[in-house]
């Protein structure tokens, strides 16, 4: 009797095992790999950094130095460090405010005023964020330096008012450069929000008798607060994390990222650097919280609407104002790029105009920068491909599968997006720098990993945004027709989200080609990239060489962007949203 029983049980058991193996496991395997990657190369390093922040000072060692609050005591007890903290906050907040003041009116003008060449304006208006920002910084030294051509011109215009421009080295220069670099985030979002707004909402207000100013105040502006909040946050985290601009023209005004580099590179104290990184993260976290609080109070479900075209202002005054505003902003923000191209053909530019025309800057690239060019392209392309694969799979998981803890997964993927590059580098160094279970310093691997960690959010966000708009029934139809999960993913999902994968990848590739803030702490003699070489050339005051290398980057980046813009359905801005 009992034998019979156990046989039945055995049969049930084998059946269970059989069923287990008959299940479609492809999706779990596909999902597991990027999640493990995030665990090892993001969460683990971040945890180590947090721990190291409470270790005693270290001199060129990664070994355990004992628990201590010395790092924080040094930070809050040293004038230089506190001033850097103050500088960081002042610079980031001013840049955010100025970007809103420039970007919103400009976005409105391009979206709502009848002016020629709108597409061109939008394309030109995205260039500053795609171009290497620290490269722009030293061109302002040329243009706004003591004898610079723009300083001379502006001082001439401003002299009747008794104003003279402050020195380009220091706070003024940092705020100016970052504003001109980051205003496109606000401009692009404002443009999108103003042109995509539901025209009927404004028309109905007009029918009820509201004038233009009232419609603007009560309807148009309140409705763009959510996108504006997102753009402002983006500008803030970029500004507080920017390493290149303060390093080039900050002078002795340290900010947090340059301070981290100083603590690690100068004093060799990874634990102090970790403490500063933690402080930096806390500030960014606080700003994120405040932003979410403000935006959440203004977040609305949009009631879907039939699309009617938005009326444009056609008044002569409005049109002239719009054109002048756009031209001034574009000229100022694109002046650095022009200066670089001119400078690359000269030896010196110390006075009003450059002197000593030469081809040697370009000739030298082939002699001295071959390896760096290879490194830049190799690292960027490999990292971009990995980002594209991981980013789209992760977006698919959080958006379609909605597993338990999807919000947490989303948060950990997006975290590096708001973390300064130097913080990510310090985290990777803390985890894989010395006595850890993997030593990766100075390898290609650590750079590719850091790039992936920092840039996966681009593809992730772009694809997630695309997926929310994609009706799940398209995928369900495929499943019902008998397709396996992987077949559906390959034949239905991926082709549909391809435009957003491409948009995200283009953002990734172009920003990686000019990556400085992460690379500066992680590169070794064999893994030096073009931006590092430019940075060193600027520091050695070899501007001709720096400009020629920058021009090469500019051209490559421009070709990539241009090629993408000629394709339909790819929208860069969706990869910048949070």
């Amino acid at each position: 009797m009992s034998a019979k029983y156990s046989m039945i049980e055995n049969g049930a058991e084998t059946n269970k095992i059989k069923k287990f193996f008959q299940k479609d496991f492809s999706q779990f395997i596909v999902f597991a790999i990027p999640m493990i990657f995030i665990g090892i190369f993001l969460l683990y390093p971040m945890a180590i950094t947090l721990i190291r922040a409470f270790w005693a000072p270290a001199e060129y060692t990664f070994k355990f130095t004992g628990w201590s609050l010395e790092g924080f005591r040094t930070f809050f007890g040293t004038k230089l460090y506190l001033k850097a903290l103050g500088n960081s906050i002042i610079v980031s907040l001013s840049v955010t405010l100025l970007c809103i003041l420039i970007g919103v009116p400009m976005g409105y003008c391009v979206a709502r005023v009848k002016i020629p060449g709108k597409k061109l304006l939008v394309s030109l208006g995205i260039l500053p964020i795609i171009m290497p920002s620290f490269v722009g910084a030293y061109t302002w030294v040329i243009l706004l330096g003591n004898k610079g051509i723009v300083r001379t011109a502006l001082n001439f215009i401003l002299s009747p008012f008794g104003i003279t421009l402050p020195s380009i080295y220091g706070m003024f220069g940092m705020i100016l450069c970052m504003t001109l670099t980051y205003y496109p985030f606000v401009f692009q979002m404002a443009y999108g929000a103003f042109s995509g707004a539901n025209a009927l909402l404004e028309e109905s207000a007009m029918l009820m008798g509201a004038g233009k100013a009232r419609i603007m105040r009560t309807i148009t502006l309140p409705l763009i607060i959510p996108s504006l909040g997102a753009a402002a946050l983006l500008v803030f985290v970029r500004a507080i994390g920017n390493f290149g601009i303060p390093a080039v023209i900050g002078g002795n005004n340290y900010v947090l990222p340059t301070l981290i580099k100083f603590a690690y590179g100068g004093a060799g104290d990874i634990n102090l650097a970790s403490s500063i990184a933690v402080i930096n993260v806390v500030i960014t976290g606080l700003v994120l919280y405040v932003q979410k609080y403000i935006v959440n109070r203004h977040e609305y479900e949009t009631i879907s609407a039939t699309h009617t075209e938005i009326k444009q202002h056609t008044g002569v005054g409005a049109r002239i104002f719009a054109i002048i505003l756009c031209l001034i902003v574009l000229i100022f923000s694109l002046l650095p790029q022009l200066t670089i191209i001119v400078m690359s053909f000269f030896k010196r530019w110390t006075g009003l105009l450059p002197t000593d025309f030469t081809w040697s800057n370009y000739a030298n690239i082939f002699k001295k920068s071959g390896h760096e060019l290879f490194n830049s392209f190799f690292l960027s392309i490999v990292a971009t491909l990995m980002c594209a694969i991981f980013g789209s799979i992760l977006a698919y998981i959080t958006e379609r599968k909605k597993p338990k803890g999807a919000a947490l997964l989303d948060l950990s993927i997006m975290a590096p997006f708001i973390l300064p590059g130097t913080v990510v580098s310090i985290a990777l160094l803390s985890a894989f720098g010395g006595n850890g279970f993997m030593k990766l310093t100075g390898t290609y691997a650590i750079l590719i990993i850091s790039y992936m960690i920092r840039r996966t959010p681009y593809v992730y966000r772009s694809v997630a945004a695309n997926l929310t708009q994609l009706n799940p029934s398209l995928e369900e139809a495929s499943t019902i027709s008998g397709a396996t999960w992987f077949y559906t993913f390959r034949r239905v999902s991926v082709p549909l989200i391809m435009p957003s994968i491409i948009a995200g990848s283009v953002m990734t590739l172009t920003t990686l080609l000019q990556e400085l803030s992460t690379t500066i702490l992680l590169y070794g003699p064999k893994t030096r990239t073009v931006p590092i070489q430019i940075f060193n050339a600027v520091n050695e005051n070899d501007l001709g060489r720096a400009s020629a290398l920058s021009t090469v980057l500019l051209v490559v980046v421009f070709i990539i962007i241009y090629t993408m813009n000629t394709r339909k359905g790819t929208d860069l801005s969706s990869s910048m949203k949070m």
Partner: protein, 373 residues
């Protein structure tokens, strides 16, 4: 104050002078009376929404004049016209509560707070949302039908001279749509504001409107009450747009002052049509259309004098009547007839051969031109 709305030779041409010139409204002239609920009806692209947007001032007409009462408003900007409008998608403000949505027009008019509260309460009672107003949620928290009521309240609260409704029921489900069209009529009659109601649904227009205008390709085909349009359509288009009309191709064999005799091509049957049922000037040998409503036709299993043979394609049970779709094999082209009868004919099934008869005294004569949409 309710006002008349008058159009005089109104033309609207989009993209004037370009390759893509579209003549959307062609010489429109008619008058809507004070306090009238007037429907603009037509297939999509007929120009009804264009006419409404121009009436509101959201677009400007290319030529002609428009009057509210005696005032020429052709060039007056929309915010000075004192009109209320309800959009198909309602266009409620998602960032305001329903109270503030409704109060918007009053706030614009700098109305004191106590009067705003009073008027909003009154109008919300009129549209039946007094309970919702107490909770005062965001409009996104309301159902489609409630959003619709808020939109109507918002357009009515400041006593506009004219109320414009742009396909206001299109986003509601069928049952709610029938209920809301009665509600709209009730509210309109209660306020007595001159109202223009745009729709593509003829049943809705007939149920709601005091009078209807049927538009096609920017031209007003006919204006009248539901009854006039249904029983005395001026042409084949109106006949087939307001309800269903079956058409037979026919040839005029004799025509006099009192009646016209035409021969139906498919069967050779001759039909005499009285003068008042002629909507065309028939001449000997002309090709014409003989039109009959589905309820004027009948099917039977047995042939009779003046019956046309055909095949039953589909039998639909539609509650109060049965609809037969019968295919007639004409020499020229096959014609599918819709025939409505009170009860099921015993012994007739889908696929059977049948004979179609019709009431010769009730069919009408139309010109074959302009039958299509």
């Amino acid at each position: 104050m309710s006002k008349t709305v008058r159009y005089e030779h109104v033309n609207k041409i989009f993209g004037l002078g370009t390759k893509n010139e579209v003549h959307a409204l062609k010489d429109i002239s008619f008058t809507i009376e004070e306090g009238e609920l007037f429907c603009l009806l037509g297939p999509s692209g007929c120009g009804k929404t264009t006419l409404l947007r121009n009436t509101a001032g959201l677009d400007t007409i290319t030529s002609g004049k428009m009057y509210y009462g005696d005032v020429d408003i052709s060039t007056i900007p929309p915010y000075k016209r004192n009109i209320g409008m309800v959009f198909q998608s309602y266009a409620l403000y998602p960032h305001m509560s329903i109270f503030e949505n409704v109060a918007y027009g009053l706030r614009v008019r700098k109305t004191p707070n106590d009067i705003v509260t009073k008027k909003v309460t009154e109008v919300m009672e009129l549209v039946g949302l007094q309970e919702e107003l107490k909770r005062n949620p965001s409009p996104t928290a309301l159902s489609g039908g409630q959003q619709q009521r808020v939109a109507i309240a918002r357009a009515l609260v400041y006593d506009p001279d004219v109320l414009l409704l742009d396909e206001p029921l299109a986003n509601l489900d069928a049952k709610l749509r029938r209920y809301m069209r009665a509600e709209i009529r009730r509210i309109q009659k209660a306020t007595n504001i001159t109202t223009i109601f745009v729709t593509h649904d003829q049943e809705e227009a007939m149920a709601v409107g005091d009078r209807l205008a049927v538009l096609r390709k920017g031209v007003v085909e006919q204006i009248g009450t539901s009854d006039e349009l249904y029983n005395h359509p001026k042409n084949a288009f109106v006949a087939n747009f307001i309800g269903k009309m079956n058409f037979f191709n026919a040839k005029v064999v004799a025509s006099g002052e009192k009646e016209t005799i035409a021969e139906i091509e498919a069967s050779g049957i001759r039909v005499a049509i009285k003068a008042d049922k002629r909507h065309v000037e028939p001449k000997m040998g002309d090709t014409v259309l003989i039109g009959g409503r589905p309820e004027y036709l009948a099917v039977s299993a047995e042939p009779s004098e003046k019956s046309i043979p055909g095949t039953v394609r589909i039998i639909q049970h539609l509650g109060s009547f049965i609809r037969y779709e019968v295919q007639i094999n004409s020499d020229i082209s096959p014609v599918t007839l819709e025939i409505d009868m009170d009860s099921l004919q015993p012994g007739i099934h889908e696929g059977d051969s049948v004979f179609v008869t019709f009431d010769g005294s009730r069919v009408a004569l139309f010109s074959p031109e302009g039958r299509e949409l």
